[in-house]
Structure formats: structure tokens, C-alpha cells
Symmetry: C2
Subunit: 474 residues, 2 copies
């Protein structure tokens, strides 16, 4: 606290720095324009059309897969057709992981096929597969506390259930299990790792997602079972007999791939170098068509930019829409952009990424400087008729890729979607266009249009500064 | 009213021959016992345990497949363990159909994998698959009205949507499309047939089910697309360009297989040759584990028999529980039983099969002789506290297999489950145990226990007679 205070006092003495300390304000006339934008967005289907097009004409977009480049070209063409003032790409390099096939079955004490998906970055099983006894744990902690001797050579299964919440908070547990579980199981000598899918549904459709092997840890085959298949294993284990599973995964790393972030910009009329940053990620997992994760995220930003572009005049600052490369395997697009812009991050006055589906936005939060709180309150007032509440006490990371950019100093808002159903479909074959309600999607567009326009018109900044927010804990 | 009165008076004078015309009645003391049975059944988990066991230890039970005999042995052993007085089998022979694999994709104007399942009794595609243009129809009637010239060599797709209703009536349309569509498409010279799955969900899980090729019609490959995949095809067709699909089905008929109906009986204490008939079917489709279709159906009957068996004394008539062989491909088990019992059908005093899932029963209907209506009313009164309404004007077929037995003269009741969600999961990989609510299942057991007990105790019959009900129109 002291250190921050000293810093603040020292800033008071510096002439240039004063600009940052004047309360940020928004003109009443801009509020009126934002209200009109909001109402116009509620009737605009650009976001849906974009999402429909990307999912229908390209479909699944596994990073590094055959649709990575195809999707990129599709988005570049679409951005150009939509009339962005400037469209460009920035290369992003990431490891390439390939899924060829997976097959699994319970072979004892009964015979049952299992529906599962290899986790991203999982290695393959040896030819002929792994046939081993299953050892089950309720949680990652239970696995941590277990003797390596009891795990060695076995297939570790960890089976907690995720529950549905509006804020989707159970995904914290689910994704931690998926990313860290295989590594931990490997350290204990396990032959392979299975988890109950990190999802809230009971469909026979497993949820894939990336896993991470810590440095020095031998990667082991890792896969997610659909919830009914996890139940099946648990019921058999309850009977007290050893349960043996045969697991065959054909997948693995194949060097590197260079994709790109695709960026479209409406050029600001007064401060074109400063910009509001929004977007979604271009890649998706491969079982579905990446509709809610995350074609709709790009679509929402595109839709918002589109209604802003219809105004007689461009806003003062630029509006930048990004389709990020390879978010799924580790925020590669966001991290690349953060690195490239860390020194000039103050230009990114505020940002928000949509990556939690396309259900209604119900809450706005912000991580901005105190002097910009009132301006966020002004934005929130325009969002209120959309059913969006403002929590001035919660922080915002800006969303997946933007969290990396926020971490190098960009002020951020989070426009939080209702995630009650999101994790029913997330990372599964069920992530398809039919899961998107066009009306809900338009509400999202309205919220992004209002936020982008008002941030681009605000007098004063929101606190973006190199090194700021690094300790925000996102 | 007059006629009934005259009849009633005349009955008083006729000691034996008039027995069939005396109003069927149920003693008040039996009503009290039925009420106790009902309340006991609401606390009994025999049905769930049976369903859990069959789905967990055997799983999918495709007729003629490797689990056909296994499941039969499992049920025989379970019936014996549950203490039926008599357990036996009756052989049933049916065509054997085998599913090996299926693969399909849109190859033009874009590339998209398709999630589908071959229909039962579909032949395979030629080696290398079929690559053909898709021609779409909204309904079977639209296909009927089309010139063969426009269909020849193409893949016919028919895409109406089923909607969810409590009485599941849209399955009439859906199943008609599935059973008759391929035959009709073949007659018009189509290369293959695809339909939007006969289901009410939007999951990426296709609904399989049997199709039928009319005599003299060349069987063509036929498969069901998941609803999101059907949407995908329709969206591409709307763009106005030809849509080409590659279809590879490896499946087909492989001679005949002899399975069996498995029958368990509680022997009647006074009229052991007469019986109440209930059950479900033993086979299931192969993608799921056949929990709601129809392990639960057998489970409900077994549970009902179990609580009746706990009474100090067996009811007057026998209680017969049947696990029918191969319902799915054409009521083979029911038809075999109907043929074998057509002359002695009067012994089957009343029957009801459970084959519409395991949600709450909401309605009872009956096809019985007029003089037994009052007794059905007595049964309905005991069911009322379970939330079951009685519709005295609707007919009853007795349910899938029993409809064949009803058609040769057995009086029938239908205990209708709420089918609102049934067709979300029916014939898909999602037909798994987790879809069954144990409390709903117990309500079903209570309804069957009451019906079986009171029918077995009733004075007089319900109208079963060779040749009766043939014109009932089920």
C-alpha cells in the first residue's frame, strides 16, 4: 500500500502524467449516441451471420490443423468485406498437436465401450494400446496425497463433477484437473490418465481441452470420458472388483506451426493510434464447429464494430477487433500480442474479449484506474436496460487472450455471459451453431458496441500503462 | 342404462354361462392391499437395481449381436435370483443385422464431417463409399410427389423436425419417415437415404432405428444424421450450390439369429393358468446402453412383481413378466408370443408393456370389454394419488410388443409415461442410466404393481378373447 501511495504522490509532481489523473469522462451527447447504437445492435444480425458463416463454411478449427489457415483466410476476407478500414495479420507460432483417433473400452470385469477424447497435447499410447487397471480418485488432492507405489503402471481416473453456475466458476476446478492431472499422475508413475469431462452435462459427448506437462515430466496418454462413461467406471469400481481398461490414443505433437492473429480496425478520427480492443479466438477444438467457442466471440466484436462503422463519423479512437490464434492450447495469440505491445500498451485504452459463449451478458466488471471508475459507471448505465448489472468491486481480466494483454498493462472490462449452459457444450461435438440464440447474441453485440464506442470517445484514459495490473491475480 | 340393467338382472339368474357378462369387480379388501402395494413400491428400488445391473454389466443389446445371448442369460439368472416361481424362455428367430462402422462427410462446396448412424437393416455402401449430390425434401409426402428423374443417383435427404410432446405423438411422423423413407427413395432410384434423426434434441448424437424395405424394393444405404448435422446440410443447400456428400456404411444383414423371450412368473394361488402380462424388451439399439429403452421397462415389471411377491399370499391369477426378444427391428418377441398364444389368449386377462422410458406415468387408458370398465375405474382410483389420470374414452394397445398380443385378443391397458424428454435420448448413445430418475421409476413400479395385482384379483375378466380387438386400429 505504501509503495503505491508514494508512487501516486510522485506522479502528482510530474506535468505530463497529470493527464492520467484527471477523472475520465464521457460526454452526454456520446451517451445518447451509445444508446442509439445499443438499440440498433439489438436489430443487427451481423454477428450471427459471421458465426453462421465461419461454422458452416469452415467448421472445426483445431490450431495447426488443416482448417487453421483456411479459417484465417476466411476471416481476412470477411473483415475486408465488412469494411474495416485496415485488416492485417500478425504471425503466431505454437506447437502443433494432431488427433488421429481414439478408442477405449472396459475389458474387465465386463465389456463396455467407452466414449472419450484425447486431451490436447496428449501423446499417443504405444501400438496395441495400454491395458491396465484403473485406480480412481475423487479429486486432484486425493491423487496428490497418494503413494506412488499404488499408482504405478495403472490408469489414473479422477472423477469429480462440475456443477452449473451462472458465473461458470466450477470450471476452475475442472480445467485445473484437466491441465494438471496428467502431469501429476505421470510423476506418480501412472500409465495413463482419465478424467470425467470438465463439463456440466450428462451427454455421451466427452469434453476435450488442453493438458500441460510440467518441465521434466514424461507425458502420458490423457483423455476425457463423457460423464455417463465416467459413471459406468465408477459403478463397476463400486462392485469391488478390479476394473481394467484398454486405451488406444493415436495423437501427438508434430513440431511447430505458424498461424496468425487476424486484426481488423476502424480507424479513429482523432486519436487513431489509441484503440479499444475486443475480439474472440479463431481456433476451436475439433469435435464441434466452434460456434460458442469461439466463433460467436469474434462475431460479437465484428457485429459491434459493424454498427459503430455505420455512424456518420468514426469515433475518436480506433476500434480494433482481433481473431486470436490458438487460444485453446495456451493463449498463444494473446501472449504474442501482449509481448509485441507491452511497451506501447497505453495505446490499448481498454479491452474486452468474448470467450464464454453467446448467452446473455449479465454483469460488467472492470480493472481500471480509480479516476476512470465514473466513466465505467457511465458505460454501465447504458448497459443497464440490457439486463446487465455493474459490480464496481470485482476485477476484470478482459477475458482469455486479453488476460495476457491485461497482464502487461491494458485496462480491462469483462462483459460476463451467463455461463449456466456453456459448460454443457464447451469443447464437445455439441459446440454447434444451433446452441446460439440470435436474440441473446444481439444483446451481446449491443453491450460490446456501447462499451467500444464510449471507451473510444472518452476524455481521458482508463489506466492502461506498461506494468500495470500485473499483480491483479488473474 | 336400461340394457345394462336388464343384463344385470338376467345375470343374477344364470350361474355359469353368464360369467363373461357379469360386470368385473374388485373387492374392497383388494383395493386396500393395492394401496399398500403402491406405497411400498414407492420405497422399493428393485427396478432401479435391475436397470443399473443390466446396463452396467451388459450394456448395449443389439438383437443378434454378441450381447443378445449374454443379456438373456443375465436376465434368466436375475429372474431366478428374484424368486419368480417359474422362469423359462421361448425361442424367437429374427434376421440378424450387423453394424461395423459408418463415416460420412460433406465434400462440396465445403468440407465438413457428418455425425450419423446407419439405420437398422440398412445395407452397406459399395467399397469406397457413395459420393453423390444431396437432394432435400421437407417431408415424405414431398418425396412421394417428386419425379424419379430428379432423384435418380442422388442422396435423398428428408429433414422435418420432431417436436417434444408429453404424449410423444411426433414420433409417429419421425418413425414413419425412418421406416418408409429409404424404401420410397429406392423406388425413385436414389443412391442412398439420409434423414434428420427422429428425435427432439439438438445433440450431436444421431438416433438410429430400424428401417423397412418393401417387398421387391432394392435396399439402399440409409442413415440418420444428428440434428446439428442436418442443419449443416440445410444451411449449405440454402446457399444455392450443389451439396455433395460422401457416405460409407459398413453394415448389413447376416442371416438369422435365434434369441428368446425370457419369462418369469409368480404362480396364481387360485387360477394359475390365467395371468396378468407385463414387461419390456430385452434388446436395445447399440449406441447407448439401452437404459430407458428398455432395461427400465423390464425393471418396472420386475419391481412390480417383486413387491407383489412380498405379499403373504400370491394373488389369484398368475403375474407374468416378459423380457421380449428383438422389439427394435420389428416386435419379433411380441409377435412370436402372440402367435403361440392366439388360441389361448383369454388366459392373458390383461396386459401392459412399459416401453416409453422411465419418466412419470401420467395417464391410464384401456381397451377392455364394457363390463370391465368399472373395474378399470377402480384400478384408476388407486393410481390417482400417483398423479395418474384416467381417460375412459381412449383406447390402449398395451405398448409395443403387447400391441401384437392385444391384436390377437388380449385386453390391454396403457400406462403412459411422460415422453417429453424421451425422444431426446431414444436410440442414441445418450440412452444411459443417468437419464433415469429413481423416484420417477418407483412411481412407475407402483402403477404396475397396483394394476397387476388388481387384475389378478378381479372377479371376472377384462374381455380377452381370440380375435377380439383386432380392429382396434393400433
Amino acid at each position: 500500500m505504501r509503495r503505491t501511495l508514494t508512487l501516486a504522490l510522485s506522479l502528482l509532481l510530474a506535468p505530463v502524467a497529470f493527464a492520467a489523473d484527471k477523472p475520465t469522462t464521457i460526454d452526454a451527447s456520446d451517451i445518447r449516441i451509445a444508446e442509439q447504437l445499443r438499440d440498433k445492435a439489438l436489430k443487427d444480425d451481423t454477428a450471427f451471420d459471421f458465426t453462421e458463416g465461419l461454422t458452416t463454411e469452415i467448421g472445426a478449427r483445431l490450431a495447426g490443423g488443416p482448417n487453421d489457415a483456411k479459417a484465417r483466410e476466411w476471416v481476412i476476407a470477411k473483415f475486408k468485406a465488412l469494411g474495416f478500414d485496415k485488416v492485417w495479420t500478425e504471425p503466431v507460432t505454437y506447437p502443433k498437436w494432431v488427433r488421429r483417433s481414439e478408442h477405449a473400452e472396459i475389458v474387465a470385469p465386463v465389456s463396455q465401450p467407452l466414449s472419450l477424447l484425447a486431451l490436447g497435447h496428449s501423446p499417443a499410447t504405444p501400438a496395441g494400446g495400454i491395458i491396465a487397471q484403473v485406480i480412481a480418485f475423487d479429486s486432484l488432492d486425493a491423487l496428490k496425497d497418494t503413494d506412488a507405489a499404488s499408482v504405478r503402471g495403472k490408469i489414473v481416473y479422477v472423477g469429480p463433477r462440475m456443477h452449473a453456475f451462472k458465473d461458470g466458476h466450477d470450471y476452475g476446478m475442472g480445467s485445473t484437473l484437466r491441465t494438471r492431472g496428467p502431469s501429476l499422475a505421470s510423476q506418480k508413475g501412472a500409465a495413463a490418465f482419465l478424467l470425467r469431462s470438465a463439463g456440466t452435462d450428462t451427454d455421451r459427448l466427452p469434453h476435450t481441452g488442453v493438458t500441460q506437462f510440467a518441465d521434466g515430466v514424461t507425458p502420458i496418454p490423457a483423455a476425457a470420458l463423457s460423464s455417463p462413461d465416467a459413471d459406468q467406471i465408477e459403478r463397476l469400481l463400486k462392485r469391488g472388483q478390479p476394473v481394467t481398461v484398454k486405451l488406444m490414443l493415436d495423437c501427438g505433437m508434430e513440431g511447430e506451426f505458424t498461424g496468425a492473429n487476424v486484426i481488423g480496425e476502424l480507424l479513429g478520427s482523432k486519436k487513431p493510434d489509441e484503440y479499444f480492443l475486443m475480439g474472440g479466438h479463431l481456433d476451436s477444438w475439433d469435435p464441434g464447429t466452434g460456434a460458442i467457442d469461439d466463433a460467436s466471440g469474434i462475431g460479437i466484436s465484428v457485429g459491434a464494430a459493424h454498427v459503430i462503422a455505420q455512424l456518420p463519423k468514426r469515433p475518436a479512437r480506433s476500434i480494433r477487433v482481433v481473431a486470436f490464434a490458438n487460444e485453446e492450447a495456451g493463449l498463444y495469440g494473446g501472449i504474442a500480442m501482449a509481448k509485441a505491445n507491452s511497451k506501447s500498451i497505453a495505446r490499448a485504452v481498454l479491452g474486452s474479449e468474448s470467450d464464454e459463449g453467446a448467452d446473455r451478458i449479465w454483469k460488467i466488471t472492470a480493472s481500471v484506474k480509480p479516476d476512470a471508475r465514473a466513466a465505467i459507471g457511465q458505460i454501465a448505465d447504458v448497459l443497464k436496460p440490457l439486463g446487465i448489472e455493474y459490480d464496481p468491486n470485482a476485477k476484470a481480466s478482459g477475458g482469455s487472450d486479453l488476460s495476457a494483454i491485461h497482464a502487461v498493462g491494458m485496462a480491462a472490462i469483462s462483459l460476463e455471459q451467463d455461463a449456466t449452459r456453456y459448460f454443457d457444450w464447451h469443447h464437445t461435438a455439441n459446440d454447434t451453431l444451433d446452441k446460439i440464440d440470435p436474440e441473446q447474441l444481439r444483446q451481446n453485440v449491443a453491450a460490446y458496441a456501447v462499451s467500444a464506442y464510449l471507451a473510444a470517445q472518452a476524455h481521458g484514459d482508463f489506466g492502461s500503462k506498461p506494468g500495470e495490473w500485473a499483480a491483479d491475480g488473474h
